[in-house]
């Protein structure tokens, strides 16, 4: 197993140790993302994602002390609109692309027994 050591970030006093991702890691990330991944795809994905992490690793060497994170290029604040009804009820139109509906509801497998 390959261990990558990186310097702590300026805003974090602890040193963080990153580990190249394993097939088990992929399994748990895939679960978080609710993404089905075949057993035999786990190892190649672990290799691909580890190489992506290596690519982005050089960010850690940058001194970003005091730099405000930039979330977005649009600096303007959100606009408020008048508090009036603007959208008509379009339930049928908007549900038309759904794989399964009944009585205006989306159908999913039984959740409560």
């Amino acid at each position: 197993m390959q261990y990558i050591m990186i310097d702590s970030c300026a805003y974090n006093q602890d040193r963080i140790r990153f580990v190249a991702l394993t097939p088990d890691d992929i399994k748990s990330i895939a679960h978080l993302a609710r993404l089905g991944v075949e057993e035999d795809a786990l190892a190649p994905l672990a290799a691909d994602l580890s190489s992506m992490l290596t690519l982005v690793e050089q960010l850690q060497a940058v001194d970003t002390t005091g730099v405000e994170p930039m979330a977005h290029p649009a600096s303007a604040s959100l606009l408020l609109r008048d508090d009036v009804v603007t959208e008509p009820n379009q339930r049928e139109t908007l549900q038309a692309p759904a794989p399964a509906t009944q009585d205006g509801y989306f159908l999913v497998p039984r959740v409560i027994e």
Binding site: L35, T64, E68, R81
Partner: protein, 484 residues
């Protein structure tokens, strides 16, 4: 008539010398003959196209048309089109029919364009070669064994092969400019917020911008005019006034200061690309522009920052595809979790899965600060570089891509090598700046793109400069032999 520019076609339509129905039929015949080898269209809608052409001709007859009325275009299949399939290049949306039009589609329809069909693309706009499409890869019209670039690869190939007068595209890290460069066409990504994202299927919402691809800067000005404008349905839509882009195309560029970043000409740049770009810059200097060497010291960090931010946003955006409300749904799910996992596992292709996973990882507890927050701080540093540079210069110029179009299959097995294609283009997305790519020569028989970047809201300056360049060069008018 396919070898005419959009502006020339518009003049013929306006004078009545040409009918939209003739133009549309002409393109449909070309598509029939040439698309099977290129695979640039995912869908061609002949009936609707002919119907729209008849309506456009009636409008022109009454003298109510504008410069785009009756002009046949293709929409990248990321833009929702009411009653017509919108796939985003994915199995997930193989049979998806959007219940409404994207604002871009509505605006162009209002201007009277005729939509011929939907252009192929990398799945969910993730890719630089169009090899990630569920509907098959696309050939570069200049050399069919080469990629057209991506993710708007179908759009660029359509314009280069003259299978429409123009096409729409989207650009998250270079997806308009890189394929425009690879296919020898002109494409512009406007300032973030200029073009509404409503109905444009989201990849990375703080980076995504729509824009046009066409033969010339003059054509792009006409299209961009119709595409821009505030849209209350997009919360990040810009309130800034949209200038008349065509009005300033002929402005004198004498004294315009062009910054040439030394980082763009570093090791790794294909010699033929460097030569073509330097020759183009010398041409602009002869036309009166002033060249100035500048530095963008954090340029090398753009790709790493981008490949944290874009996948993080994608993993969040693509959570909407759950097999419940729209898109692919797995057969016989055991329970809700199985429904989610198998619908997504079956619906998404390999590159989309990689980006969802790396994005989910970068956002997960314990890693958020080290990856996502750090990348956002670097994004600010990259933006500061531009702010500093634009104190000294009016426009930044350099190559659009480090190489010309690479061979199909050459990079598809190495995702990170593929990412380096975006080396010069992602910075404009990170900083929300307008960027344009225009043809500026050839290297080994393949087109080279000149990239121009301007400060926020200065698209007119880019179009003016590109138009002036195209007035003294003819690279943009050359077309692949295979077109005829």
């Amino acid at each position: 008539m396919h070898d005419k520019t959009l502006a020339q076609q518009a003049a013929l339509l306006a004078s009545g010398e040409l009918k939209s129905v003739e133009l549309v039929d002409h393109y449909l015949t070309r598509i029939e003959r040439l698309n099977s080898n290129l695979n640039a269209y995912i869908l061609v809608d002949e009936d609707r196209a002919r119907e729209a052409a008849v309506a456009a001709d009636a409008r022109l007859q009454k003298g109510e048309g504008g410069p785009l009325t009756g002009i046949p275009i293709a929409h990248k299949d990321i833009f929702c089109t009411k009653d017509v399939r919108t796939t985003c290049g994915s199995r997930m949306l193989e049979n998806f029919i959007a219940p409404y039009n994207a604002t871009v589609v509505d605006k162009l329809n209002d201007a009277g364009v005729v939509t011929l069909g939907k252009a192929n693309m990398d799945e969910f706009a993730m890719g630089s070669s169009n090899e990630n499409s569920f509907f098959g890869s696309v050939a570069n019209p200049w050399q069919h064994d080469r990629v057209p670039g991506g993710s708007s690869g179908g759009s660029a190939a359509i314009v280069a092969a003259q299978l429409a007068s123009a096409a729409t595209g989207t650009d998250t890290g270079g997806s308009i400019r890189q394929p425009a460069a690879f296919c020898g066409v002109t494409g512009i990504k406007p300032t973030y917020g200029r073009v509404s994202r409503y109905g444009m299927i989201a990849f990375a919402s703080s980076l995504d911008q729509g824009g046009p691809l066409a033969r010339t800067a003059e054509d792009c000005a006409l299209l961009l005019q119709a595409m821009c404008g505030h849209d209350p349905r997009d919360s990040t839509s810009s309130l800034t006034d949209v200038p008349d882009f065509s009005a300033t195309l002929n402005d004198d560029i004498k004294g315009l200061r062009i910054g040439v970043p030394e980082e763009y000409f570093a090791q790794g740049l294909e010699a033929g690309v460097a030569d073509a770009v330097k020759t183009a810059l010398a041409e602009l200097e002869r036309a009166g522009a002033i060249l100035k060497s500048i530095s963008l010291p954090n340029q090398g960090l753009c790709i790493p920052a981008y490949y944290v931010i874009a996948p993080a946003e994608a993993s969040s955006n693509l959570s909407r595809f759950d097999g419940v409300r729209f898109g692919h749904r797995a057969e016989n799910p055991q329970d809700l979790e199985d429904l989610y996992k198998r619908s997504r596992g079956e619906g998404f292709g390999p590159e989309v899965k990689r980006r969802i996973l790396i994005g989910a990882y970068a956002l997960s507890a314990g890693y958020y600060d080290a990856y996502y927050r750090k990348a956002q701080q670097v994004r600010q540093l990259v933006t500061n570089d531009f702010t500093e540079a634009f104190k000294e210069v009016d426009v930044i110029a350099g190559p659009t891509t480090p190489t010309t179009a690479f061979s199909r299959g050459e990079k598809s097995s190495d995702p990170t090598a593929m990412y380096l294609n975006d080396l010069f283009t992602v910075s404009a997305n990170l900083s929300g700046l307008p960027g344009l790519s225009a043809p500026c020569g050839f290297s080994n028989g393949l087109p080279v793109g000149l990239q121009l970047i301007a400060p926020v809201n200065e698209e007119a300056r880019l179009l003016n400069l590109a138009h002036q360049y195209q007035s003294v060069s003819d690279w943009h008018l050359q077309s692949p032999v295979a077109n005829d």
